[in-house]
Symmetry: none
Subunit: 230 residues, 4 copies
């Protein structure tokens, strides 16, 4: 999203650095409680220079939201459209979701806490994206019920359990902490699928099937780490 014409080559780089720094500060103190002056101190720029790069404070918030939502939606749309069984797709969706969360923890904090500070069109767009994401999850769950893998559940309630389990993770996970996305995804899915599955559905080989599937693909799925090849 390049800004007015006539910016030097370093502009976009510095701009991205400023967004990084801002996300960290917003995550720590909250968007509304973080002043432009603080951002200036943190970036080493005077207020005027800051505005040269950011346009407005709300703009910063928009960029942070985009950094979270854009790559996530790309990955999730791709995974949802794959031609494999829905439970496997859910497992992959779970992992890319957690990878996205862990990769930008502070962005996700801001994303979850401060979207209410967005106004007008920015807010509308964000809510639309959220709804699309939730729909993709719900559709996968319904597919799994339809093909007999899962019991007949209230789709909305199943979706919410899925989202609860994943989306709250940002609250306690720490960067460089004990858990990686793969571990968390495996555990979360084990729990959720145990709860959702039909007695006849066997969950035990899911991890193997995932590994196999990813190993066999020629092109990697963006936003989903493929297992290291031997």
């Amino acid at each position: 999203m390049p800004r007015p014409p006539g910016h030097g080559p370093g502009y976009e780089i510095k701009r991205q650095e400023i967004i990084d720094t801002s996300a960290a500060l917003f995550a720590k103190k909250g968007y509304a409680s973080t002043g432009i002056a603080e951002l200036g101190t943190a970036t080493g720029l005077a207020r005027g220079a800051l505005y040269y790069y950011i346009g407005s404070k709300e703009n910063l918030l928009v960029e942070i939201q985009n950094r979270v939502m854009r790559p996530l939606l790309v990955s999730v749309r791709r995974i949802a459209a794959l031609d494999v069984d829905p439970v496997l797709r859910l497992r992959m969706l779970s992992q890319t979701l957690l990878e996205n969360i862990l990769a930008r923890l502070d962005h996700v904090w801001v994303y979850e806490h401060d979207y209410r500070s967005l106004k007008g069109a920015n807010r509308t767009r964000l809510l639309r994206q959220r709804r699309e994401f939730e729909s993709l999850v719900e559709e996968l769950l319904v597919e799994a019920m339809d093909d007999g893998s899962f019991r007949k559940l209230d789709p909305r309630l199943a979706t919410l359990q899925f989202l609860n389990m994943h989306n709250h993770t940002y609250q306690w996970v720490k960067p460089g902490g004990d858990w990686d996305a793969e571990t968390l995804s495996r555990e979360y899915c084990a729990t959720l699928i145990s709860g959702f599955r039909n007695p006849t559905y066997h969950v035990d080989d899911l991890e193997d099937r995932m590994r196999e599937y990813l190993a066999q693909r020629q092109t990697p799925i963006p936003g989903l780490t493929s297992p290291a090849k031997k």
Copy 2:
């Protein structure tokens, strides 16, 4: 936390009303983005009168946090100490947690989103209470592992799954909406226990055991709805 000594009889009542109104506003717009002027409009009081009752804006936040944490901790401590099997206690803890969330949805919004605006001692105390709550959950989960109900799990990871599932509920539940605490608790626990249980542990009669236990108690557990008696 009554303020200046010597208040008339209506003081505390009006004070509580103000906190109610504030919680609703904070939940809708965010603590930092809600001004004292707005609180004045909403309560029908001039700024001066407002301060007569509230002392300071941060004070309001403290009261809201207390309203969430105090009754919850009372209930949860009581349940954790009951002399029944740990899985049943978890089930009851789950339900009281959800009852608390549903009973004060807007307070919980504020509690989850704006505790970072607390400073100094207020903040410390809140974090201590959170940690106590989480410990109580974790200890119950460990008990259940120790008595063979649950598999050997990483206790922290099991705790976090439990908390994820419950604590994110405030994000989408609506007052007077489709789900009550009992339904949600039953579903959540069904999922979680399916995931955590030893293959040998039978979960099917949990709901019956809970009903039985509560029916047989002479004194109700505060913050946990007893089943209607016939």
Copy 3:
């Protein structure tokens, strides 16, 4: 235009004083070049208190414009509708226009110089009022042509001469200066009517007819000084 409910009795008074002071400053330095801080110094109020009264800087500009346009339009509409010959009505319109200008010289400065700082609806409304005023003048001139008092002139060009002559007065007239509205109006009209009149039209008794008319009226015309009675 009372502001939010709950203002004391002195509020409106002080508010009007602030508008007075602001008009003087804006007239001297220009709207865009006068800062809120200066208004504060001039009114003896801190910036915050200023906003308690004014709402916004643009609001101040709106009020100033209103103070000019409202009473002027009231008077001019009233005069245009009188049942006397159009040249006499023009003479009276001229005088009330000049009385309005002289009465609020600094307001008129602001009105003429800074209306371009108004935005949106405020600007639209102002332009509409200007156009109405000009139309009333033009219609009177046309009436005077139709009844044979004036030659056949280009109505627009005649209007503009009338307006040029009057509206530029604010540029050099000084409060408490040498000329009053009656003198100016008499001179201006003498010149204009000499230029506009049909050779057959006699202008010499206009001043007498005006005095007579005003003396004979029972109710004074707002915004038009009646001659002192003997």
Copy 4:
């Protein structure tokens, strides 16, 4: 007023273009409300390059004022010194004044509206020029009274009528609009002279005398269009 010594050949040309563009912008939005950034966009130059040409924003304003005042004063001084009857000189002065206004409408807007933004010496010089111009007009009017063409009028009041009539024209005239300087001058002077003249003074042949005079001159008067020759 060329700036740093040693400029290339295109310097002055570009400089003049920048002043043109600035005058247009200042006229539309007001001097104080037009930013250097906007000037940059409008001229296609970056801020740095702009300053290479203009020195400072106030400098631009000075140049614009000069462009209005210099040629006008040159013409008016020349006309005032001509050896013809004062009423004819007034008629010519009127026309050159209007030609100057129409030729640089946006400059005149700025000249009339924003001279208060000038400071110190720049301001003083401008006011001196204005006063000189007004004196020249006043002296001509007095001459016309002295030679019996005009009645005995208050010289200041007559001057102000003359200036009102002409100087307000910029407010509504449009470039390429319906009226040219000659038409306006003829009409304005017809009105003013009708009002000012002695009953014995005949105004009817003024236009013929003007045409004759200009046709007979060998050298044209700068800033005053001579009639097309047959």
